[in-house]
């Protein structure tokens, strides 16, 4: 009896929150298949009366939006590659070497992670403006690093530490240089760790809005999140088009997360706290 009560409590909590989680997504999905007029008709219809793909066609053929999608992809891939590379080097230094100032450096990097990037947008704006990098994709790739590098260094340092040192040592004895051992032994073993870091980096870059809305809001270098935000400045928001845009923006990250969800939790367990 008690177990039955407990089970039903657990399942009702899950059911309620599942509804809260999924309902908004389903509603936006359903709206994206409605013609613009129907999208804001009252009373709302749960399913589209005249299902249509015109909203998606609009987004995928509007040259400004398509360009911003390409920009988003370029920036996200670029900053993911840069941050995983740079953080892997740093993380490896922390995991495998003893050197002066190591603890201080690690604490500083972690403290930097807690500093809100928002506070930096004003100086960054002036800085990039003065060197002529405002409104460029390069500026975004570089500034996005401050969101990701500290976390990635931390994750990868812990990942390297969880790998057995002996294999590397064996390679060293066999005549590999330290860098050679890194390339032939450590990197292949670390690929799962790189994958977690890469997914997190991609998620941060793809979704970032504050930096790009300030640093890069001209049509040529606009990314998708900012382009969606521009819908608001129109006199009336076209909810049909907007919801289609939302779904297009959601798809890549959700797919990545769903595929690698289990690995992510394991990565966080390793990376987050080892108290």
């Amino acid at each position: 009896m008690k177990i039955f009560f407990e089970k039903s409590l657990i399942y009702s909590v899950i059911a309620v929150y599942l509804f809260i989680t999924v309902a908004p997504l389903v509603w936006v999905l359903s709206t994206s298949f409605k013609p613009n007029q129907e999208a804001i008709s009252f009373p709302p219809k749960f399913l589209p009366n005249h299902p249509t793909l015109e909203n998606y066609l609009f987004v995928m053929t509007d040259s400004k939006l398509v360009l911003s999608l390409v920009n988003s992809l370029t920036v996200s891939v670029g900053s993911t590659v840069l941050s995983v590379t740079v953080s892997a080097l740093g993380g490896y230094a922390f995991a495998r070497y003893d050197f002066k100032g190591k603890n201080l450096m690690m604490s500083t990097i972690l403290a930097l992670f807690m500093i809100p990037v928002v506070i930096n947008i004003i100086p960054l704006y002036i800085m990039l403006n003065n060197v002529g990098l405002l409104n460029s994709l390069v500026a975004l790739v570089l500034t996005f690093q401050i969101l990701i590098i500290p976390l990635n260094i931390f994750l990868l340092k812990n990942y390297f530490e969880s790998l057995p040192k002996e294999l590397e040592e064996a390679a060293l004895i066999d005549g590999c240089s330290k860098i050679g051992a890194l390339i032939r032994v450590t990197i292949p073993m670390s690929l799962p760790g790189f994958l977690i870091a890469a997914i997190l980096s991609f998620r941060f870059s793809w979704n970032e809005f504050v930096l790009p809305v300030v640093l890069s809001n001209k049509p040529d270098s606009m990314i998708f999140q900012v382009a969606l935000y521009q819908f608001i400045s129109l006199y009336r928001i076209d909810w049909g088009y907007l919801t289609a845009g939302i779904n297009i923006a959601i798809i890549p990250v959700v797919v990545l997360m769903l595929i690698f969800q289990k690995k992510m939790i394991r990565g966080l367990t390793l990376g987050a706290v080892r108290g």
Binding site: I10, V13, L18, I20, T21, V22, P24, L25, W27, T31, I40, F42, P44, T85, V86, S87, L89, G90, F94, Y97, M106, S107, I109, M114, I115, V118, I119, N120, P123, L124, I126, M127, N129, L142, T143, Q145, I146, I149, I153, W206, N207, F209, V213, Q225, Y229, F231, I232, W239, L242, I246, V253, V254, L256, M257, Q261, K262, I265, R266, L268, G275
Partner: protein
């Protein structure tokens, strides 16, 4: 000999790229804020000489009623967001950890809102909470209740945003605390069970104490994120109606990029850094006093 020396500088070489990027784009701008805050820099004078104005920007902020009201809004927003996200996240993490069929699939579904950007969350909830054609008010009407002015009532708007933020932020706490729960060995629970501890007892005497380091870091992170968060609000209300949903961080953004007062924005930014530090420090103190040894930056 040469080998030895290269060995010694290798770790520094490996760290150069990341430290360089962090210094140029994070540390330097951070300190530069101080310089900006005592000069008069606006969007229109961005390239010309900046006049030194001493503490004027600070003084004008102190007497600015807009800033005062933004502080009140921030306290409510941060308090509401952190409380909701933390307790819901904890409940979900614990519930999903109870040997439930399909718990992995459920976790994957629950994480989705966190993978969605704040802008998208903002738009989706702006649509759902719309006063005239939103589905939520339609639902209330169908149940015979009065519709609510979710986004246009100044006393309601902030809570509407907190709800949207809950949807967006709770999964992170759930994920983070799940990682914490995974790190507790099941043997501990078995031993407690043998000793006759009930489930409630083991929750309070085993789960919570062992989760403490995770809870601490989680609280620090979500509190700071809430203090600094404004993209969601920008999309949903742009701080309105009037200033009812303008938090301190949004106030900073609007002063700088809507009114062009970059220096004034910098002062608010510095103030926010202070708030973040004080909050992080208080959490650490609070948890230390509790008798837990927590080392955040253990290497």
């Amino acid at each position: 000999m040469l080998e030895r020396r290269t060995q010694r500088i290798q770790p520094y070489l490996l760290l150069v790229p990341s430290l360089l990027i962090l210094t140029v784009f994070l540390l330097f701008p951070l300190l530069w804020n101080v310089y900006l805050s005592v000069h008069n820099v606006s969007l229109s004078t961005i390239l010309r000489d900046w006049k030194y104005v001493g503490p004027n920007n600070y003084l004008s902020l102190l007497t600015d009623p807009g800033f005062h009201s933004s502080l009140k809004v921030s306290i409510l927003f941060v308090g509401g967001s952190v409380t909701l996200q933390f307790f819901l996240g904890l409940v979900l993490a614990v519930v999903l950890n109870q040997q439930i069929r399909g718990s992995n699939t459920l976790r994957a579904l629950f994480i989705i809102p966190w993978t969605v950007s704040a802008v998208i969350t903002g738009f989706s909830f702006k649509f759902i909470f719309n006063d005239s054609f939103g589905i939520l008010n339609y639902g209330l009407e169908q149940m015979g209740l009065n519709p609510v002015s979710w986004l246009s009532d100044p006393s309601m708007v902030l809570w509407t945003i907190v709800i949207a933020n809950m949807w967006h932020g709770t999964p992170f706490t759930m994920l983070f605390l799940t990682a914490g729960l995974f790190s507790i060995s099941p043997v501990v629970y078995e031993a407690a069970l043998i000793d006759g501890a009930t489930k409630t007892k083991s929750f309070f005497h085993i789960t919570l104490p062992m989760l403490k380091p995770f809870i601490l870091i989680n609280l620090i992170l979500i509190t700071m994120w809430s203090v600094n968060f404004f993209d969601l609000i920008l999309v949903m209300t742009n701080g309105g109606p009037l200033f009812a949903s303008t938090t301190a961080s949004l106030y900073m953004y609007r002063q700088a990029f809507e009114f062009g007062l970059l220096s004034k924005g910098s002062v608010v930014g510095l103030f926010l850094i202070g708030v973040n530090l004080v909050l992080a420090y208080s959490y650490l103190k609070l948890f230390r006093k509790d008798g837990t040894e927590v080392e955040v930056a253990r290497v």
